[in-house]
Subunit: 376 residues, 2 copies
């Protein structure tokens, strides 16, 4: 099928770029000596997962129990659910483990550890657990030197309902670093926090075979990962304009785009009106704090080549307004109603989430449609 035959808006995935991104990260993690545990929260797609697992990796990371169910149903059993477990989800997690999923949970409090231990014991399931470590102050996790670390570790280790597997951290603050040196320093901070927490557990006689770190920026620039056992980057599969703005990828590495049609012209301001609004692109404006503001996305021709400095400047639900980054009017007559364009995503996770499936393109033709598992 040709791109011209697709209904707009829809989500395109360039398979060659996807595979290039996957093999680069695979080679990089191999050099760093850690096992990849790719994060599927961006892709939410078993075909992408299988390509990402090609090589040494056998396990994945996910962000919802819905993803666990989906990937397990498609034959991928070794899964870390990398969002702090809510007690109300333990019965669902136990059901998956009973059916054969090698599902690992994470938590960062004694209250959650107690809930896991008790519910596991009550259900006759031993929940594998990683303790979440805070390596950047941004979100969840406990400090690597907190006394709570050992309390939680002992609580889990002494329980019939849990199995302490080690530690996990995510330096999400790397998304806001200015420059590669800052990302590299963040990678070392992420590594050090996780390794120190694992050492503290081991020094107290507790097991910590798993030391899990990862974000796409830190895994791209880390100098070494001594003491780490696995890495969980995710957005590297597709990349996006936030990653390009950070210096983590080139614009040409971005594998995802939204196909759209020109539906009108805003003559007074010299802008195009297209049928991709925030519903198809997401409301994410993650480059607005970077040095180049890409608005709601960078505009390309049908072959995926950027059209100078054309960006999506504004969005409504099903309308996008495309204009020059500097606000000067476009010669709109060059893009008549019906013209098809492609928009590179600001944030691949958010843009992909707006769609039920990927139209997979190779050498300019659509040759597959891969579904996503949205929802919880």
């Amino acid at each position: 099928m040709q791109l011209g035959e697709l209904t707009t808006p829809c989500l395109l995935l360039d398979r060659a770029k996807l595979e290039r991104n996957l093999s680069r990260m695979r080679a990089r993690l191999k050099r760093l000596g850690v096992t990849p545990r790719p994060h599927l929260k961006t892709a939410k797609c078993v075909e992408v997962a299988r390509l990402a697992l090609d090589g040494d990796a056998t396990g994945i990371t996910v962000s919802t129990l819905g993803e666990v169910q989906y990937f397990f149903a498609h034959g991928i059993a070794d899964i870390v659910y990398a969002v702090g477990i809510a007690p109300g989800k333990l019965d669902g997690a136990a059901a998956l483990i009973r059916r054969g999923a090698k599902l690992t949970l994470i938590l960062d409090s004694a209250v959650a550890a107690q809930a896991v231990a008790e519910r596991g014991a009550g259900l006759g399931v031993k929940f594998p657990v990683l303790i979440e470590i805070d390596s950047d102050g941004a979100r969840a996790g406990i400090a690597p030197d907190a006394s709570a670390l050992l309390d939680i570790g002992k609580l889990l280790n002494d329980s019939d309902g849990a199995e302490l597997r080690g530690v996990l951290t995510h330096a999400g603050a790397s998304y806001h670093c200015k420059g590669i040196a800052a990302i590299r320093a963040m990678a070392e901070q992420e590594r050090r926090c996780a390794v120190n927490a694992a050492k503290a557990l081991r020094a107290a006689g507790l097991p910590a075979p798993v030391v899990s770190v990862g974000s796409t920026p830190t895994m791209t620039f880390a100098e070494h990962l001594d003491g780490v056992t696995e890495a969980r980057p995710g957005v590297y599969m597709f990349h996006d304009l936030v990653m390009a703005g950070l210096g983590v990828c080139e614009i040409d590495d971005i594998a995802l785009s939204v196909l759209t049609s020109v539906i009108g012209h805003h003559a007074r301001t010299g802008q195009l009106i297209v049928d991709a609004g925030w519903m198809a692109l997401s409301r994410d404006q993650g480059t607005s704090e970077q040095s180049v503001n890409q608005g709601y996305g960078l505009v390309c021709d049908l072959n995926g080549r950027p059209l100078g400095d054309l960006i999506v400047r504004a969005t409504n639900q099903e309308h996008g307004l495309i204009g020059r980054r500097d606000g000067q009017p476009l010669h709109v007559g060059r893009y008549p109603v019906g013209t098809r364009l492609r928009i590179l995503p600001i944030h691949a996770c958010a843009t992909a989430a707006a769609h039920a499936a990927y139209e997979v393109i190779e050498e300019g033709e659509v040759n597959a449609r891969w579904s996503r598992c949205n929802g919880w």
Copy 2:
């Protein structure tokens, strides 16, 4: 089913508030003497559409051809697809018309009118068309006094492939008005532009039986709608914090909320970590330019009562950070891990779009699950 049994995050719809919002708008449009043509782009749900159509209305408005297919399959045939038609969608639209849909298209250029006329003639279908009028300068449409209006009108009227039905406008700028007087003035501007365009068509001997206007703010405050035949508000069904900030509704009118669980505490800053991130809430920050910034949503207890000034201050994909609006630390111990909360949406259209279905609650119990038709 009790709220405590639902998996979090999920989308709750309070049926009593929905019905109250529907009956208020129905009464208001009756007083204004116009036929309601409720916009289903927010709800995307046939059960909601049926409640909204209770009374005089028989037709709806939608924002995608996917919605047309869905609502037509569920027995609602009279539909305005209120986004400028892309030529690539005409075959799909024709197929629906042949199957019995009373589908009306909109457009705002001679190029689009030519495409519709030719494709209609080629397919043996007479596409009903409204010409889109720009009443606020914000997005699509042509000026009500533009010479192009008559050119397009004649082109459509002279064609075997199209039937000119009149004009349509949407004063989306009403979402950014400061104060009720400004919304009222915008309502009059919206009305006047549409009515004047219809008069210009009629003066040229062209038909314009339909004069369609509408946004929730303008329909809430319009003083009169003389000359208008139908109104297309949408978000009034659920309302949201943007509407409350505009003075269009009260907080207590908001029928939609996201149920979430506390999964941890950010002790240093005195914030709660919950399992509703931007994936469940959307990235919309539409109140950030209003006088009260509600962040990513206003936090309520399980009964839907706001907890003082607690808002979602930050979001990651599956994490929300809840804190006080003034940034002062919360006493997080009052909300232990596992506590369930409800979050009122900033923008109902965007938050609802993140979910596959509504959990419908009446008197605190879940008694139905209504699906949505996301996608295109």
